[in-house]
Structures are given as structure tokens and as C-alpha cells.
Amino acid sequence: MNEIYLDHAATTPMSEHVIAAMTEAMRDVYGNASSIHGAGRTARKALDEARATLARSIGAKPNEILLTSGGTEADNTAIFGVAAARQHEGKHIITTQIEHHAVLHACAQLEKQGYDVTYLPVNEKGVVAVKDVQRALRDDTILVTIMYGNNEVGSVQPIAAIGELLQAHTATFHTDAVQAYGIVPLDVDALRVDLLSVSAHKLNGPKGIGFLYVRAGVKCVNLLYGGSQERKRRAGTENVPAAVGFAVAVDEAIAKRDEANAAYKRYRELLTTTFTNAGLNFRVNGEEGLLHVLNVTFVGTDVESFLINLDMSGVLVSSGSACTAGAIDPSHVLVAMFGSDAEELRSSIRFSFGQGLSDEIIQEAANRVVAIVQRLVK
């Protein structure tokens, strides 16, 4: 049974161009970018070029790009960094109930340290209301951290409107754009964000690298101390081959973006039409935001059994997030959208699309899903 990978929101396979560029960099660009000799300069040049590409992709300046080990470190740097830098101005943080755990668990840790965190609700479409952000703002609010696009249901948050609102407030504004980067155009000035996190492995780049955009002048304390890399904001020898691969992946994602989104829209329709024609009782969760994420409730299915059956039939998808001991915890995102007793919690799975798929492959996946649902729902 050939595998059909529909879990691109979890991670993506690396693009051949990325692998080629990284292989070359690993072989030829071996120097330490901080060294003063020729090999160091070669590495520094490759790093600077990559950084310029990354900066350009979000309308930022290269010196505002802080390379990290990935999205989690970018989110943690933003949250702990701002919390530490501004603790004397206030200890209130605003976020939402549907953030990635890299944000939620960082906030929970800050609560233990005496910070006060407001977790805003979302509507049934998985979207936070700007007026809720407005109401939650206090004089001592130092940070607002709200994701751009949700990784489980694809809902897109009104980041530009919140950025606009925050023009009248001193709070620092961070957005976790890990899932949206490469899928939708992002411009830090249009969004009026101070900090923005992304990761390379969600857009066919390598695992282990991401960046945090830090607007010039924004106060953010380091997580890591050591050498003077990243303008003394993040110690550790730069991962030049990964940065090179990251930049190639970004260029590729942007070049293919419109075409990819058109394909994702077709895939969504192919799946939902096939489900409808087969008479399945299903609902699509969340607004049509990030087109590559499609979260579906199949009424009457049990997610644990469903996912294993899908895996056995070669359709690789996911649901919520794996928790302790590999078992599946109810998704906090679906809880926020539907409440803790909703059937969506037991019966929803996420399809997510990326490179390397076709209408034929999606149709085959849809057929396999239908066969399993019809077997499981008695």
C-alpha cells in the first residue's frame, strides 16, 4: 500500500533543491561564520545571503532576523524575552486558548513565575475577536501574543487589526506565524507586529532552524548566552547549511505560493465532494483560512481507531497533538471552539497538504477515508 502523506502541517519532506543546496554548503561552507579567515568569511557570506532572503520574505531588515533552532525557540525567545525585559513595567500577558503549546506552555511557566496571563476565547470558527483583545488590555499589559494561522484548524486571526489596535498601547505584539509562513504573504509593517516566529521545516526546509523577527528597538532578553552570534542576542555557532537550506525553501515556497494554494483549494473540494457523494456525515471545522489545513469531524468515528486505520491503509494524517504515552489528548483548539464535551473532540482529524501531491493522489486518499469511515460508523 503506497503511503499518502497528508500531514504537512506537522512537518514537510525537504525539497530536492534544499537538499542540494545544503549538501553543497555542508561540503564547501564549513567555516565558522565568526572566524576572521577565508573559510569564516565564506560562511559569513552564505549566512548573510540567507538572512537577507529571510528578511525580504516578511518585509524586514536583515538585522531584525534572529536565527533560532526552530519555531519553539522563536516563540520562547519572544515570550520569555519580552516578559523579562519589561517585567518592571507590568506582568500582564494576553494570548488565546488556541495557541501552539510552544506559546501556551511558555505562558503557563510565566504564570508560575508570577505573571498574569489572559487566555482569550475564540468563536466556533476558531477566530479571536479584536474587541476581546481590546477589553483584555490593561495598563500593565506588556505582551500580546496571538498566532497568525492555527495549525490544527487553519483559522486565520485578525493580526493586522490587532496590530492597528495596539498602536494606541505600549504592549509588545508577537505573532506565531509558523503555520502560515510560506502559505500566505506576510509583511511585518502591514501587520504592525513587533515579533514574528517562523520555522523552516513547515515549508520543505530543514528541521532545526527557524527565526524570530525582532523589530528594531524592541526589548527582548536573551534565552541563550555565550558567543556574540546573532548580534549578541542568541549565542551558538550559526548553523550555516541549515540557514542556506532555509532560504532556498523560502524562495521556493514564495515562487510556488499561488499555484500551491490553488491546488490546496482543489484538494479541499475533492475531499469534501467525495465525502458528500459517499453520504458520509461530516463537518469541516474552522473558517477557510490557511488552505493547506482541513480539519474534519466524521460523526460517529472514534479518532484513535480512525487514525490507526488510516495509517494501516497508508493515509498519514493527524489529530490534535500526541500527548503523554502516545495517546491522544483532546485538542485544546477544538475545546476552545466547541467546548469540552463536544463530539468534535473524539471524531476529528486534520488533513494537511503540501508539495508532491496531485488530484489523483488526493482522490485515492479520499476513497480510502470513505472506505474506513463506512466500516467504522455502523
Binding site: D311, T324, I328
Partner: protein, 373 residues
């Protein structure tokens, strides 16, 4: 060769706990050519304040073993079913002054019901577990036999399995001795080869039983008395004691050691007396409820067989008299010591485990003992 090919078409889901028994179960089935899938059941969350959870550690072992064997693995969460069907029953029984057997209930309601159903939903032909028991499929009905390792035989805990359940189960290590199981694991290089066996009730694990129970049931200390009314001390709560228990009473003095002889729930009194052979501990018959048989074969209303009243006990000859309501009067050939309500009475015909029930009342000289809980 043909047989191997056929077996590859037979899907067996193995319930894997992260222990050596279920690891070897999966390994043997894979060696025999079956289409094997390993599934870890998470029934209980014991995550402590440091985020450490034994289930996580056990699942790590399941992953390691499955990768070594080369089979897919998954985890499934039955915490809610376990709480509703097993733990609630466990607490209710303790509240009623009895000594429940959660492992029997877990096998009946979770492992061979909810989990079996889950396995069937994955297209499995069989569910296999690492129990020391055997399944005999040579006749028209499937029989459950004792494991060959007499010291490890676990049919006591499996007595409630029905014919329908047995049709779908395999116990691949029931044919071998425990030390052989370890040897196979070691030879195959399985990560769990030297892992310590789990002891006690699964959700309590190595923890202090008293402390655990006190988190869920309020303990009411009261008097320890002899049947003559002499107060010998104070007990910590009736639920912490079981019939025939010697340790933890803290009664000193001359003569033979002291034992728990019974309980008076209404007065919150624990009856104690001296001597392992104390006459109050002995009885002649019991009534059992929730009688269940492993086969659907017709049997006379009254029949003779052997029985175990607790795990790892020698069999005793008994006469079973079935009643209309599904309960039974079970009379012992010889008086039995410390028959404990709430525990299982399990019936055997030679090597075959034919079924069992839950001990409800205890009878001595034709009268129901009111002091045993």
C-alpha cells in the same frame, strides 16, 4: 512455507504494557509470521508534580521493542472507561467493606472488551496478550487452560472471559515458563529483557496502598476488638485491612500472633484474634455472584470441580450448585481459611479454567458469617 504465507494474512493486535511478557508475546507472533501490530493501553494517568508518568516510561519501552521486532505500534487511551468500569467498582467495593479484585474487572471490561473491540475495529483477527494462560482451539469450543508455568498461571484473573471473547484471543507465552520468556527476550535483544516485573495493582504500582486509597476514600479510625469485646488497639480505617491479614496490626504481647478475623461496618470495628489457624477464619461454603463460564457447554445444576479462592493458591475440591439467578452455592470438601468477599472464586476442571464469580457471602455450619464484610 504455505503456512507462513497464510499467517501473514492474519492480523494480531498485541496489547503491550512495556513489560517483558507482552514484548515476548509480540516477538513470538512476529517470528511465527503473523501480521503483528503493537498497541499500548493507557488506562491510568499518574503524572506527578514533576511531569513524570510511568505510562510514558512504559510507552518508551513499547516503542523500543516494536522497533526491534519491526512492527508498527500505537497507543490508545482507555482512562475514562477504566475509571468508569474498574476504578469506580474498586472504590465501591472498598466502601462496602469488601476486598475487590480490579485485575479481574480490568480483563473483563477493558482488556477483553473495550480493547478487544478496538482491535477488531483495526481489522484484527485476534487480540494477543502476555498472560500466562493457554487457549485450546482443538475442539468445537475454545477452552482456556492454565499456563504451563504453575507459579505464574494467570487464569485466576481471566476467569470472567466468555466463549465469544476467547474465540478472539491468543496467549502465546502460556506454553512456556517465565524464565524461558526472559531467555527469549534476552536472546532477541529486546529492550525489556531485564525489566523488573510490575507488582501489585496496576494503578497503584509501587506506591503505598494506604496512602493511595486515602486520597479517594475517607478513612475512619476505630477500635480493634476481639469477639469477646476486648479492645486491643485502634485501626486506621476498615478498608485498609483484609481477612487473615497479620501484618500492620501493631498488637504486641504474649502468645500467638494476631490476625484480622472480620469487620463490623456499622460499628466501624475490626475484629482480631490470635493464631494463624484461628477457627473464626475457617468456613465451609460460599455464595458467589456474577458467575460466568468460559464455554457455552451445558452443565448440570450441581457439579464437582476444583476452585481457587485467591491468586496462586492450590486448588481445592468443591461442589457447585447453580441457582436460578446466576449465583451459586459453592461447598468446600475441606474447610477453607480466610475466604474473602469481593475476591474471585475460580473454577477448574483439571487443566481447564471453566469460569468463576465474585465471592459474595461466606458460610460456616450452614450460617452466613456476618463479620467477614
Amino acid at each position: 512455507m504455505n503456512e507462513t504465507k497464510d499467517r501473514s494474512q492474519i492480523r494480531v493486535v498485541v496489547g503491550m504494557s512495556g513489560g517483558v511478557d507482552s514484548s515476548v508475546t509480540a516477538y513470538l507472533l512476529k517470528e511465527q509470521g503473523y501480521d503483528v501490530v503493537g498497541i499500548f493501553m493507557k488506562n491510568w494517568d499518574d503524572t506527578d508534580e514533576n511531569g513524570v508518568c510511568t505510562a510514558t516510561e512504559d510507552y518508551e519501552d513499547v516503542i523500543a521493542v516494536c522497533n526491534e521486532i519491526g512492527i508498527p505500534y500505537y497507543a490508545v487511551n482507555f482512562e475514562k472507561q477504566y475509571w468508569d468500569k474498574v476504578f469506580t467498582y474498586f472504590l465501591e467495593e472498598y466502601k462496602a467493606g469488601r476486598t475487590p479484585n480490579p485485575d479481574v474487572m480490568c480483563n473483563k471490561e477493558i482488556k477483553f472488551k473495550a480493547f478487544l473491540e478496538h482491535a477488531m475495529n483495526l481489522g484484527a483477527d485476534y487480540l494477543a496478550t502476555g498472560h500466562y494462560a493457554r487457549v485450546d482451539r482443538t475442539g468445537d469450543t475454545v477452552k482456556m487452560l492454565r499456563g504451563v508455568d504453575n507459579n505464574k498461571d494467570q487464569t485466576y484473573f481471566l476467569n470472567q472471559l466468555s466463549q465469544e471473547q476467547l474465540k478472539h484471543v491468543m496467549f502465546p507465552i502460556g506454553d512456556i515458563e517465565k524464565k524461558e520468556v526472559r531467555a527469549i527476550a534476552e536472546k532477541a535483544g529486546l529492550a525489556t529483557a531485564k525489566k523488573k516485573d510490575s507488582t501489585g495493582i496496576c494503578f497503584i504500582g509501587e506506591r503505598n496502598f494506604k496512602e493511595f486509597l486515602s486520597q479517594y476514600l475517607p478513612a475512619q479510625p476505630g477500635n480493634m476488638e476481639t469477639f469477646d469485646g476486648d479492645v486491643k488497639g485502634t485501626h486506621d480505617g476498615l478498608m485498609y485491612y483484609t481477612l487473615g491479614q497479620r501484618h500492620g496490626l501493631g498488637i504486641g504481647g504474649d502468645g500467638e500472633p494476631w490476625f484480622v478475623l472480620g469487620k463490623d461496618l456499622a460499628r466501624n470495628v475490626l475484629y482480631v484474634g490470635q493464631g494463624f489457624e484461628n477457627d473464626k477464619l475457617y468456613s465451609h461454603a460460599l455464595t458467589a455472584v456474577k458467575l460466568s463460564f468460559t464455554t457455552d457447554e451445558a452443565r448440570p445444576q450441581t457439579f464437582n470441580c476444583t476452585a481457587k479462592f485467591r491468586y496462586r493458591q492450590q486448588d481445592s475440591p468443591v461442589t457447585v450448585e447453580m441457582r436460578e439467578d446466576g449465583s451459586a452455592l459453592i461447598t468446600f470438601d475441606e474447610p477453607q481459611r480466610a475466604i474473602t468477599p469481593g475476591q474471585a472464586v475460580v473454577l477448574y476442571d483439571g487443566d481447564e479454567c471453566i469460569g468463576g464469580g465474585t465471592i459474595d457471602t461466606v458460610i460456616k455450619n450452614g450460617e452466613t458469617l456476618t463479620y467477614v464484610g
